[in-house]
Symmetry: D2
Subunit: 380 residues, 4 copies
C-alpha cells in the first residue's frame, strides 16, 4: 500500500529547481511506499514563488518559512537554502516533527550542524544531507567494489573538484563570494562534496594540512559594476589528509581551473586494485584489478548502465546514459525509503557535521601553517 508524503520545498534557486525536478520524477521510476506530493513551495518573493510553483507543479506557494514548518498538512521539508539560513529552519522543522531533506552544505559551521543533528535525533525524524554524488550509479558501484574487497587495502585518495567560473577578474562578486553568507569559497562549497565522497569510499579523516588562496582580492560589485568590493573568501583550497585507516589523501577545489566547468573527480588506489571517476563522464567507472591475468591488466572502462548496477536499471536500457539530475532522484528515492522505515539514510546530519569539522580543521591548518589532528568521529 502506498500513501502520499506531503512535501514542502524551501528555497527556489538552482537547488530548488534540481530538487523540484527530482520530486516530480521519482515516482515514475522508483517504487516506494510513500508517494511524494508537491504540496508547498516557499520563497521570499511570493510572486516569483508562485511562478516557480506553476512551472514545477507545486500546489501552493508561500513566503514565510515559519508557517511552513508549523503546518500540519506537511510531512517533510526540503531545505534548499543558502547555508547560513539552513540551521534555524532545520531546527524548527525538527521541532515540528517534519522529516528533513537538506541540501549541502547543511550549515555555516560544525556547531550549527551538530545542533541540527541533535534536534533531528531528538525529534526522531529522518535527517538527510544531499551529497548527491554518492548516488551517481558509478560512485555507488565504486563503494560496492570496495565492499567486495576487490581493491584491497586503500592507500591513496586523490580527489579534486575543479571549476573555472571565477577565472576572469571581471566576474562580479555576489553573495557566493562573501564570507558572511557563503562561509567560504570552494573550500567549503566544493571540498565538502569531495570530503563526503572520501568518507563514503575510504573512511574518516584524522589529520589535515591545507593551503587556501584568494587570487583576486577585489571584484566589481554585482550591484554596481563601477564599484569594487573585497573578496573575503578563498578562490582555491588544497588539502593533504590522513585517513583513520592509514590511507593518504589529497583534495583540490578551485574556481580557477580553466577548462573545467564542474570536474568533480577522484582516484582511489588500493593494494590490489584501483578506481577512478569523473563527473563529466558520470556513467563511467574505471576499475583496475590485480585479479586479472598479468598480460590483461588495465583500467576497465565500465559503462554503469546495466540492470545489475546501482539505481540505473530503473531508468533506461543498457547504454542509454543518464545525467547530473538523476543523482537527485536517487537521493529522493532513498529518502522516501528511509521515511518508510526501510533503510537508514546516509549521509545524515551527523555525517554532514563531520564534513564541516574536517573543513574547519583544514581552515585552522591553513591559518596556522601547520597540520591539524582531528578526534576520530564515531561514524565511518
Amino acid at each position: 500500500m502506498t500513501r502520499p508524503l506531503r512535501i514542502a520545498l524551501i528555497g527556489t534557486q538552482f537547488m530548488g529547481r534540481a530538487h523540484s525536478n527530482a520530486w516530480r520524477q521519482v515516482h515514475a521510476f522508483f517504487d516506494s511506499e510513500r508517494i511524494p506530493e508537491l504540496a508547498l513551495v516557499c520563497g521570499r518573493d511570493l510572486a516569483k514563488t508562485e511562478a516557480f510553483a506553476r512551472q514545477w507543479g507545486w500546489r501552493e506557494a508561500v513566503a514565510d518559512w515559519r508557517e511552513v514548518v508549523a503546518r500540519e498538512d506537511i510531512d517533510a521539508v526540503d531545505l534548499s537554502l543558502p547555508q547560513h539560513l539552513q540551521a534555524e529552519v532545520a531546527i524548527a522543522a525538527a521541532a515540528h516533527g517534519k522529516q528533513i531533506f537538506c541540501e549541502k552544505p547543511m550549515a555555516l559551521n560544525p556547531d550549527e550542524a551538530h545542533a541540527m543533528s541533535h534536534a533531528a535525533t531528538q525529534a526522531g525524524v529522518v535527517n538527510a544531507v544531499n551529497y548527491n554524488y554518492r548516488r551517481a550509479p558509478a560512485v555507488a558501484l565504486a563503494r560496492q567494489i570496495i565492499d567486495e574487497g576487490r581493491i584491497g587495502t586503500i592507500r591513496h585518495w586523490r580527489g579534486a573538484y575543479l571549476q573555472d567560473w571565477l577565472r576572469d577578474p571581471g566576474t562580479p562578486s555576489g553573495w557566493k563570494l562573501q564570507k558572511q553568507f557563503a562561509g567560504s569559497g570552494p573550500h567549503g562549497d566544493l571540498n565538502s562534496h569531495s570530503v563526503d565522497l572520501a568518507r563514503y569510499l575510504v573512511g574518516d579523516i584524522v589529520e589535515v594540512s591545507c593551503h587556501r588562496r584568494t587570487f583576486i582580492g577585489e571584484r566589481p560589485s554585482v550591484d554596481d559594476p563601477a564599484k569594487r568590493v573585497p573578496v573575503d573568501i578563498d578562490d582555491a583550497s588544497q588539502l593533504l589528509v590522513s585517513f583513520a585507516n592509514g590511507a593518504m589523501g589529497s583534495f583540490e577545489a578551485t574556481r580557477f581551473a580553466t577548462g573545467n566547468r564542474n570536474a568533480n573527480q577522484f582516484e582511489i588506489y588500493g593494494s590490489r586494485g584501483a578506481l577512478r571517476w569523473h563527473l563529466e563522464d558520470l556513467n563511467r567507472l574505471e576499475f583496475y584489478s590485480d585479479d586479472d591475468p598479468p598480460h590483461l591488466r588495465g583500467f576497465r572502462q565500465i559503462l554503469v548502465t546495466e540492470p545489475c548496477h546501482p539505481y540505473v536499471g530503473r531508468w533506461w536500457p543498457p547504454g542509454h546514459v543518464i545525467g547530473y539530475e538523476h543523482t537527485f532522484v536517487h537521493s529522493i528515492a532513498d529518502f522516501l525509503a528511509a521515511v518508510a522505515g526501510q533503510s537508514a539514510y546516509r549521509p545524515d546530519f551527523e555525517d554532514g557535521a563531520r564534513v564541516l569539522e574536517i573543513l574547519d580543521a583544514a581552515r585552522k591548518a591553513d591559518e596556522s601553517s601547520a597540520s591539524v589532528k582531528l578526534k576520530p568521529s564515531g561514524q565511518g
Copy 2:
C-alpha cells in the same frame, strides 16, 4: 499566452515510457505557447495501460486506437508503436486532423511512409519523426558548426551504431527478430538513426552498397525455450554510400559488437575541419579545425553544456551533464513549437520516408551484390 495541447499517446513499451517522460518534463524546462496535457494513453491491455497511466500521469487509459484518433478532445497523437502498426494509425489520425509525433522507424517500408506523408500533408498537420539523436546538443552543435562553414567541404561520413545484446546464441527470438513485425534487424532499427543523422549533417544519399549478415540462424523461441525458431532478419548491416554532394560514407549497424551497448557514433571529415561524436559520452563533441595555428591543432573536446549551446542551457549550469532521455524532451519542445507555427519540424514524414528508401535500396544492393543508385530526393 499559453494554452494546452491535449496529447494522446499510443504505445506503452520502451518508447511509450521515454515519450511519457518527455511530455511530463518539457514544460518545466522549455517555454512554449502550447502546454502539453497528458490526456490519454492507449495500449492493448487495458489494465496494464491503466497502471501505466497512473505511473506516468496520463489522465485516462483506453484500449482502442480508433477511438483515440477520433476523439475531439485530443489535439495531437504520439505514435510509439511497433513499426508495422504505425502507418494505419498515422493515416487515420491525419484524417482526423491530429498533429502527429511519430516514433521511428515510422513504417515498414517506403510505400507506407509516403502514404503517411501524403495523408499528413493533405491534412496540413505537423508530422514529426522522432529521430531523437538529431537533438542531442552536441549533434545540433555539429550541424551549427557545419553551417558556419568551419569544416569546409565534407569528404567523409563514418557512422556506426553498435549494440551487443544478441551476441549470445542462447538469447531467445522475440518479435524484434521476426521480419513480419520488425521488417529488419539493425539494418533498419539502428541504421535508420545513422542515416537520418547523415542526411541532417551531410546531405542526401544517392548510391549505396550493402552487406548484411545473420550470424545466428536459429534461436530458442521466446515462448518455449526448448523450441528453436528461425531468425529471418539481419544481425548486422554495413553500407557504403555516395552523397549527392560528393562525400563518401560508411555505416555499420550490429547487435553483435561485444562491449557496445548503444554505441551510436559518427565521424565527419571536411576539407578544413572535422567532427566526432559518440552517444556514450553524449555531452561531448570533438572538433578539429585547420583555422587553429599549426602547432596548436588537435581535436577539441567540447563539453556541450554551455548556455550558448543548443538546448542545453535550459537544463542546468555548465558542466552539469544531461543524458539520453533529454533528447526526447528536445524533440517534444520542437514539436510544440511547430504546432504553434513557430518553426517547421524536421525530420518530417517525407524525411522519414527517404530514410526508408535509402535502406530499401541498400537491401536491394545486398540482395543483388551490386551497388544501387537512388533518384535524388527533393529534400536535403
Copy 3:
C-alpha cells in the same frame, strides 16, 4: 655463437631511414644468432647515398642495385624501394640466394608478387614483407588474446587507416599520386596495412565490395606549381568484406580525414570479447571480456609495456612507452631469427601477394559496382 649477417639496403627514402635505424638498433635490444652488419647501401644518387651511409653507419655506398644483389659479401638485401621497382630487384636477389627483407607494398600487382614469391621459394631464402604494424606489441598481444580463445568467434572487423595530408587541393602531385609509380592511392598504400592486419588477426578474405573516390582531380605539378596535372589514383577507398570464417569486415583508407595524421586503427568484435587498437596510442590495447563479472565488464585499457607482453620487455621497464620505429626493430629481430632458422617469418611473400589479390579484387568490385568473390587462399 653469434655471427654477422651482412646487409645491403636498397632505397634511401623514408623507409630507408626507418630500416637503417632498425638495423642499427636491433642488436642492442634483441639477442640473435646473426648480428647485422650494415655493409652496403644503394641509392640512385651516389653523393646523396654516401651522405646517407655516413649518417646511418652503412660501410659503403653504391648506385647500382644489380651490383648489390650479385655481391658475394652480402647475405641479405633489404628492399625499401617504390613498389613499381621491387619485383625485379627481389627476383634477382633471390636468384643470387640472398635473404630478403622487403618493404610493403611489395609489388605493383599480384602477378609480380607471385613471381617474387616463386623466386624466393625456389631459392629457399627467407622472404619477409614488412607489414610492421603486426609487430606493435599491442597488436601481437591482440593476436595472442585471440589465440587464447578469449574473444570467442569473431563477428566483426572494423579497420580504418586515416590520413589527411592531401586534404588541401593546393598540395602538389608527386609520384605518390601517379598510377604508373604508385599503382594506387590509399587503396593500396594504407589498406594494404589494414588487410594484412585483418588477415593476421581474423583470417582470409573471400568477398569484397568497394567504393573508391578521387576528390581532387587535378593538382599543381610538383615540378612546376603553375602547371596542373591530373590525379589518376584514388584519394580514398572503402571496403566491405566477408572473411572465410564468416566474420564481416569493413575498411576505410583515406588521405582526406582531417585531423588524422596516421590513424591506423581497428576494432574486433567476437562472440565473447572484443579488442580495439589505435596507432596514435600504440602502447595501448583495449580488451573487453564477457568472462568478467557482469557488473565489472568494460573495455580494459591495457598498457602493453610489461615483460610478459610481446617484444616490449626487451626495451625499458613497464610504463616506459615505445614508439612507431620500434615496430621495425621487431620485424628485423624476427627476420634475424628466421634467417637463423629459429622460426618462419610471416607475413612472407605469399601473404603479401594475397593482400594484393584482395585489393585487386576490391578494385574490380569498385569498377564493376558489384561485389567480387575471391578463391580462398591456401594461407591463413
Copy 4:
C-alpha cells in the same frame, strides 16, 4: 665542420642503457658540430662492463672511475650512477675539465649538489642534469605555449608521478628502499622530476607543506627472502606548494598507485588557458584556450608530431609517434649544442640543486608538521 666528442659513460644500470642508446642515436637524427664517440664505459664489474660495451658499442670498458675522469682522451663524462655516488665523481670530473652530463637525482642532498655546481662553474664546463621529461616534445611545446602567453597568468600546477611496483608487501627491499643509498623513496626519485617540470613550466617554489608515508615498514630482504628488513624511506609523498609568482601547486609521488606503471603527469591552469600532459600518452598535449569562440571551447588533443613542434620533426613524419627513450636523445642533442657553445643547457647543476633544496624543505615540513618557506632562488 663537425668533430668528435669523446664520451665516457660511468654506470651501466637502467640509466646506463638509456644513455647509451641516446649517445648511439643522436647523430643519425640531430645535426651537431660535435659528434659523440662512444669511447669508454665504466662499471664496477669489469666482465659485465665489457659485455655491456659490446652490446652498446662502447669502444673500451674500465672499472675505475678515477681513471676515467683523469684520461686525456675523454672530453665529456656521463654520470649514470646511484645518487649517493655522483657528487664525488662529478667534482673530480670537473676538476679535470670534463663536460658533464649527469643523471638525476644528481646527489644525495643540496650541499653535495651545490658543491658540484660550484666545481663545474669554476671549471667552466657544461653541467647538465638529465631531467629528461622537459624534452618530451609535448612538454617543450607546453613551455612554448606558456611563453607565447596563451594561458595567461598561471594559477594552478597539479603534478603527480604515480607508480605501483611496491604495492605488494612481498616485494623485497633492495638498495632503492634504503636511505643510505637512495636518500629517499618517491619523495626524491619521482617528485624530483615533477618539481623540475614545475620549475620549468611555472617557476620557482617558495613554500611547501608535505605528507610522507611508509605503508609497509618491513620487507623481505633482497638477499635472503626469509629475512625481513626495515624500510626507512617513504613509500609515498605529497606536497602542497606556493610558487614565487603566486600560483599554487600540488605534487603526489607514490609507488603504491595500483594500475599506474610510470604515470608522470601534470595539469596547469592559467587565467585564460590550460595545459595537461601524461607520460603514458607522451605524444599528446592537451590545451584549452579562452581565445576560442565560446561555443567551440574545449581541451584540444594536440598530437605533437609535426615538423613545427619541438624536436619531433627530426624523427618521422607526422603521426608516427615516438617513445620514452627519445627524450634522452633530445637531452643529448641539447648537451652537444651546449658543448659546442650554441646554447646554455638547462637544467644545470644549480637547477638540480634547487630541486633538492625544495625537496629537503618538504622533508622538514613533513617532519615538523608545518609548512616551510624557502628563500627565493636566483634561477627561474
